[in-house]
Symmetry: C2
Subunit: 391 residues, 2 copies
C-alpha cells in the first residue's frame, strides 16, 4: 500500500459573496492550494478528483463535480461528486486518499464548495433540512438547530452541561476566528454576549449556532513519490476512519453522543496506530456548540460527560494541551456545507507546517472531524508532520 | 495491489412502481445480489458502500447513501453517496473497486437507485435537465432528447447514419429486453414501428429514446481472499477507466462522439491489458439510439462513422460477433438514472457466469459503459470470467 500525503491545501474566504459563483470560489481555493506547494506543482499532474457538495439549492445540480474541475482546467480526469451532507468533503478526502493508496492515482484533488447565502433564511432552513431524515424530521418541520437542541437538552440533563459551557465554545472559537482572515464571523465575543443572545432553538441561542456560508476548499493528496519531489515537509495521512448511522436522530439509541463519530475515530486511531492522547490539535465539527462538546467525548479527548470541563479548564484553547478549532471552527470561520471537511484539513495542514494564523507550538499529530447531518455520516482523519528528510 | 472481483450482482425489476419506495427497491436489488452469491455470504462482512443516485426530485436529498445502507442493515459502515448524473453508479462501482485495490475494504457494496415515475412528464423533463449544463442548456429550455438530437443530426450529416440505423437499435434492444423479466418495456417492436413513431426531438422519435424508470441495482465487489472462499467462478474486474468532460455539449469540440467515453475506454483497455477486439459482449449507454451508435465508435468496436454498419450487419445482435445490450439496454430494460451503471454490470456478471436471459456463448471478456449527462462524465469497466480454480 502506498502512503498518502497532503502536499497542498487552500480555501477561499468563507462568507457571503453575492458577486462570486461556485466556480470562482472553487478556483480561488484551488489556486491557493497550488500556491501552498512551495516548490510548485503542475496542475496537469492531477489525475483524479473528488468534489463534495450538497448542492440541492440551485446552480449545477447534476454533474456538479465535473462542472468545477473542468472550470479549473483539469480536463478529462475522472471526477466523482460526493454528497454526504455536511461530511461531503470529508468523504471526498477519504476517497482521494483511497485512490492514492490503491495506486490508481499519483496526485488527487479533494475539495468541496457550497453557495448558501443567495436564499432567504426560510429557504435556507428548508434546504439544510434535506440532510435530516426526510419523512419524520424535515417534513414535520424540524430544523437542524432543533435536532441539535434536543441533543443539548439531554446532554445538559444527563451530564450537567450548562449554557455557560455552550457559550465558552463560542467565545473560544470567535477569538480564534478573529485571527483568521478567511473567517466569515471574524470578531471576538464575550461570555456575556454568548450567554445573552436570542434563542434559536431552546436551549441553543444565536451564538451556539454556526452561520450559513459561501465558500470552497481544496486539498492536494499525493503518493510518496510525488511528495518526495518537493523540498518542503509534507503532511502524512496517518489514519482515516469513517462511519454512517441512521439518518434520523430519533432512530438512534442515544441523544448525547454521535456514534458515527466514535466509530470513525476508533478506526482512524487504529489505522494510524496511535491513541487519542497522541493528538496535538484538532478541528472538530462545531455546527452547534453542543456538537463541539460531544466531539471531545466521541473522539476520546475526555470521558463521556466531561466535555464542558475541557472548556472550563481551557484545555482546548490555543495555549492548552489540546487546542481545538484554531481556525475559528464552523462557528466563526463559517460552514459552507460541502467545503467544510476539506476546509478543516486546510487548517491542520497549515498548523503542521507551522504556518497557521493561530499557530500551535510544534504539533506532531493533527485530527480533522467532519459530521454529516445530525450524525448520519462522519469522517475522522489523522495527520502527521513529517520532517523534510523523513520520507 | 489486490485484485477486485464481482462475486454477486442483482437488480430490482425496472419500471413504474407507485407502491415501492427507493428503499424497498434497493432492498430487492441487494437481496438478489446476496442471493446470487451461490454459497452465500454474510452481509455483515460488507465493510464499505458506494451508492449512486441523482436524486434531486424529492425523498431523501441529503445523506441519501446512508439512508439506504442503514435500511438494509449495513449499520455503521462508511457509505459514500456518489452523484455523477446517469454515470452515478458507474462511478460508485469505480470507487468500490478502488477501495478493494487499496486494501481498505475486503467486501464492498456498489449500487444505485432512482425513482422517476412519480413526477409529471413536464417535471421529469426539468429534472433530467439538471444533468445538462445549467445556464446555457437547462435554463434555455434544452432537454436531453434535444441535446442528443443535435448529436444525431450532425452524425447523420457527417457519416451518413440514417433513421433506419437509429431504429435498428430499438428493434435489437427491444428484442433482447423481451426476454428479460426485469425490463420495463419488455416487448418487441418491428422496424416499421421504430421508424414511424412520433417525433420527440427531430430526428429522434419515441423509439429512439429510453423511458423514465424506477429501479435499483447492487453489486458486491470483493478482494481475492473473499472471492477464493466461494465455490463458484468469480468475475474479475480486469480494467477500469473513467473521464470527465465539459458538461455542456456546446462547450465541446465535437458533436459526433463522446470524448469522455473514448478516454475512459482507452484507460480501461490499458488497465486490462487488452484491445477492443478482445471484448466478447458489452452493455453500452443507449439513452438515445444515437448514443449506442456513437458508443460502438468511442469504444473502438469500429471506425468513426461505422456504427450504423454494425447494426445493419447484425454484428451486435446476440448471435453476432460482439453482442451489445443483451439485457435490453436503457432503451428496453429502462434507465433509472442512479441504478443504470451497476445495472449494466448485473447483466455482464450474469453473462460471464452463463446465467443471462439472452445468453451469449461462453464469453470471456465483458464491458460496461456508463455515461453521465451528454458526456460530461463516463466510466468503462472490463470484466473477465475466471475459471473456478483460476484464482
Amino acid at each position: 500500500m502506498t502512503e498518502a500525503y497532503v502536499i497542498g491545501a487552500g480555501q477561499s474566504p468563507f462568507g457571503s459573496f453575492p458577486n462570486e459563483s461556485y466556480r470562482s470560489l472553487f478556483a480561488t481555493a484551488f489556486d491557493r492550494a497550488l500556491a501552498s506547494v512551495g516548490t510548485g506543482i503542475d496542475r496537469n499532474r492531477i489525475d483524479e478528483a473528488f468534489i463534495g457538495t450538497l448542492g440541492v439549492g440551485g446552480r449545477q445540480l447534476g454533474l456538479s463535480g465535473p462542472a468545477v474541475t473542468e472550470h479549473i482546467g483539469l480536463h478529462g480526469i475522472p471526477t466523482t461528486r460526493v454528497e454526504n451532507a455536511c461530511a461531503a468533503s470529508g468523504y471526498a478526502f477519504r476517497n482521494a486518499v483511497t485512490a492514492v493508496r490503491a495506486g490508481i492515482a499519483d496526485l488527487v484533488l479533494a475539495g468541496g464548495y457550497e453557495i448558501m447565502t443567495d436564499m432567504s433564511s426560510d429557504h435556507t432552513k428548508w434546504w439544510l433540512g434535506v440532510s435530516g431524515e426526510t419523512e419524520w424530521e424535515r417534513l414535520s418541520g424540524t430544523t437542524f438547530a432543533g435536532v441539535y437542541a434536543q441533543m443539548a437538552s439531554v446532554h445538559m440533563a444527563a451530564h450537567g452541561t450548562t449554557i455557560e459551557d455552550l457559550s465558552r465554545v463560542a467565545v473560544k472559537n470567535h477569538r480564534n476566528g478573529a485571527a483568521n482572515p478567511n473567517a466569515q464571523l471574524g470578531f471576538e465575543c464575550t461570555l456575556e454576549d454568548a450567554m445573552g443572545a436570542p434563542t434559536v432553538a431552546d436551549p441553543l441561542n444565536l451564538y451556539h449556532c454556526c452561520p450559513t456560508t459561501d465558500g470552497a476548499s481544496a486539498v492536494l493528496v499525493a503518493n510518496e513519490e510525488v511528495a518526495n519531489e518537493l523540498d518542503e515537509a509534507s503532511v502524512r495521512v496517518s489514519g482515516m476512519g469513517a462511519s454512517s448511522d441512521r439518518v434520523g436522530l430519533f432512530q438512534r439509541d442515544t441523544f448525547t453522543d454521535i456514534p458515527a463519530s466514535r466509530r470513525a475515530a476508533e478506526r482512524a486511531y487504529d489505522d494510524a496506530g496511535i491513541a487519542p492522547d497522541d493528538i496535538d490539535l484538532a478541528e472538530v465539527h462545531d455546527c452547534f456548540a453542543i456538537a463541539e462538546i460531544m466531539a471531545y467525548e466521541d473522539l476520546g479527548f475526555c470521558d463521556r460527560g466531561e466535555g464542558g470541563r475541557l472548556l472550563r479548564e481551557e484545555v482546548t484553547h490555543p495555549t492548552g494541551r489540546l487546542p481545538v478549532n484554531t481556525s475559528g471552527g464552523l462557528k466563526s470561520k463559517g460552514h459552507p456545507i460541502g467545503a467544510t471537511g476539506t476546509g478543516q484539513i486546510v487548517e491542520i495542514f497549515e498548523q503542521l507546517r507551522g504556518e497557521a494564523h493561530t499557530q500551535v507550538q510544534e504539533p506532531c499529530y493533527g485530527l480533522a472531524h467532519n459530521v454529516g447531518g445530525s450524525g448520519g455520516s462522519a469522517t475522522v482523519h489523522v495527520f502527521e508532520r513529517m520532517q523534510e528528510d523523513a520520507i
